[in-house]
């Protein structure tokens, strides 16, 4: 017992402060920055290398389909695409994910009635529907002592009956479609759906495969999209807090 206590003392306090600036790795590829004015007429270099068809000349970048592999940025001869350090990327509507050079319209908080219901206590049931276990792992990380999701009143629960919504990962394989719909139906109304990662948003690398639905948006109404492959835990956390109105605009 003494050994456990000594070790407990030694391991220290590890929870990240909510107010501290995010600590992101040096090579982190965050929100893409587009400089349309640099784009050369007739050049298609970016579109030619994109694995998921997320980029088109202009440049126009669908953040929902983006794997953040950086191929487009390396291919662009004019430097019209670069990946920045901003980890905040969650939005409320699928169309908001299409970047054209304007500022990303980050997720707004739920309307007053839903916020009253969920604002101080949000229980989510996670469903992996073809997810590769990377998005799932990053959601799991939020429940560790580092991020301590519970302090914001958000908790991942074991049963859809106890949940206020679903947090979906994966492109929704045909083999998981029915189980996902049944889980959704088991969540009492009103209920939320949160799509985490490129697969759940637009199919990821599996986009347009006949074995998948290319994202959850085609079969369920989605309240929050969180891009990334996988999204950084801070990106997921930021999205959840925005939805609950715990983060200011911007």
């Amino acid at each position: 017992m003494l050994k456990i206590l000594t070790e407990r003392f030694r391991q220290g306090h590890r929870t990240l402060s909510d107010q501290a600036p995010p600590s992101l790795p040096s090579g982190y590829q965050g929100l893409p920055v587009l400089s349309s004015e640099r784009c050369e007429e007739g050049c298609t270099s970016c579109a030619e290398v994109c694995p998921t068809g997320a980029v088109s000349p202009g440049p126009l970048l669908d953040l929902g389909a983006c794997l953040f592999c950086g191929e487009c940025a390396r291919a662009c001869p004019e430097g019209a695409i670069s990946f920045g350090k901003d980890h905040r990327m969650a939005v409320r509507s699928r169309s908001d994910l299409v970047l054209t050079g304007q500022e990303l319209k980050l997720a707004e908080a739920l309307e007053a009635r839903s916020r009253q219901l969920f604002g101080r206590s949000l229980k989510l049931r996670q469903v992996s529907a073809g997810g590769c276990n990377a998005c799932e792992a990053e959601i799991n990380v939020l429940s560790t002592v580092v991020f301590d999701l519970g302090r914001f009143g958000v908790q991942v629960v074991a049963s859809p009956r106890h949940a206020d919504g679903l947090i979906v990962t994966g492109p929704v394989s045909q083999n998981m479609r029915e189980a996902l719909l049944k889980t959704y139906q088991a969540v009492p109304e009103p209920r939320l759906v949160i799509a985490v990662g490129a697969c759940a948003t637009a199919g990821g690398p599996y986009r347009d495969h006949p074995e998948v639905e290319s994202g959850v948006g085609g079969i369920l109404p989605v309240d929050l999209f969180i891009p990334g492959c996988p999204p950084h835990p801070l990106t997921i956390l930021d999205g959840l807090l925005r939805l609950l109105g715990r983060r200011g605009v911007g």
Partner: protein, 454 residues
Amino acid sequence: MIVKLSEIPRLDMHEWRGTCRHGRLAALTLWQGELLAVLVRPEGLVVRATRVEEEYPSLTPDLPSAQALERALFEEHGLRPVGHPWLKPLRRLRDGGQFYRVRGPQVHEVAVGPVHAGVIEPGHFRFQCNGEHVLHLEIALGYQHRGVERALVGGPSRRSIHYAETAAGDSSIAHATCYSELCEELAGVQASRRARAVRMVALELERLANHVGDLGALAGDVAFLPTASWCGRLRGAYLNLTAELCGNRFGRGLVRSGGVSVDLERIPALDTIRRDTQGAVEVLLANSWVRARFEDTGRLSLETARELGLVGPAARACGLPLDVRHELPQEDLPRPALCTAEGGDVMARALVRWQEVQASLDFLQQLELPSGELSREVGALAPAHLAVCLVEGWRGAVCHLAVTDDEGRFGRYQIVDPSMFNWPGLALAMRGQEISDFPLCNKSFNLSYCGHDL
């Protein structure tokens, strides 16, 4: 390993079946009417072919490790293994599926999944129980099927490396390395020593993150919360080391055909994280009631492990010294020590992980990065060749096999995740156990659903 298709030794069915029993079956595929078996033998990898029509006598009755591979071939290509004891779909689900049933007045069934209670991937577990006592467990997967192997045919394409990186997302480095080495073999180039060393660093960091995470999860399952909390934090710290290397916590974007995309200036300092890991794990393994729960739970014998073709820490915990880093070593680079344990129970699987954590840390702390270029040009792939590559991921041997067509495109691409062999190990480890020990046993294997379903 690469071989010209025309130079693969052809055997008649009887001889071929006999030869499949010498060595460990790593892959089984069908190409232009020929069944090709890849075996890991002491002398290295060998491929043997035999001609088949619509059916052939199943290998499974004599070689249980072939069961999933034969089912996959039947499902994909309609090649019937006659005499296969349980030829049910592997990845294509229909009508809820069939299950073995135990009958008797006291016997009941427990069905779990596909949606589970935790944040994990989907799969279905069907227990036949007498009270709390598990008589039989059948594991039905396929829910994660995304068509990975089908989509790789016709490649390499822009998406190929992303399929590899997401085949089993917690093993991104292992699968991406396997894919890249396969392409390099087929193009007749080898990545520089430096590039291969950087890949090894990333591979060991991947192993560290997952092993430490698993030790924490095992602690959590027996309600030993201090280690569960600390290892949860430490797992993220190891992922952050990978992220410092390439920007992504899972190492995505680092490994590419021909080499690596970013250089590593020096091996990160590991003293602090090593001390924290040691403190967290030693407290766990020294605790008497943790030991009481780990010991003699979910035991597998060495014979069963060998029969099922178990790989990775699950096999090494039964005393089988199987490790691709040692079976098929890269002669010009160092490697972490081989770790085994005895007993094949949850305790042994925990101990092997802890030994491997220390071996990986030793390796990283002693490694001196050789010089060399980051990446080499990978040209066109050799047509009409077969290439196989194995990489020891944290779960065990990840195997990729490709057959190129006459134009040098992938005509067949097979991925064999270690989970293909290890899932039946979990099912057998549960026999005779209390059903309440299932989460603990499951965690001690921690297998991949998407790596199996592809």
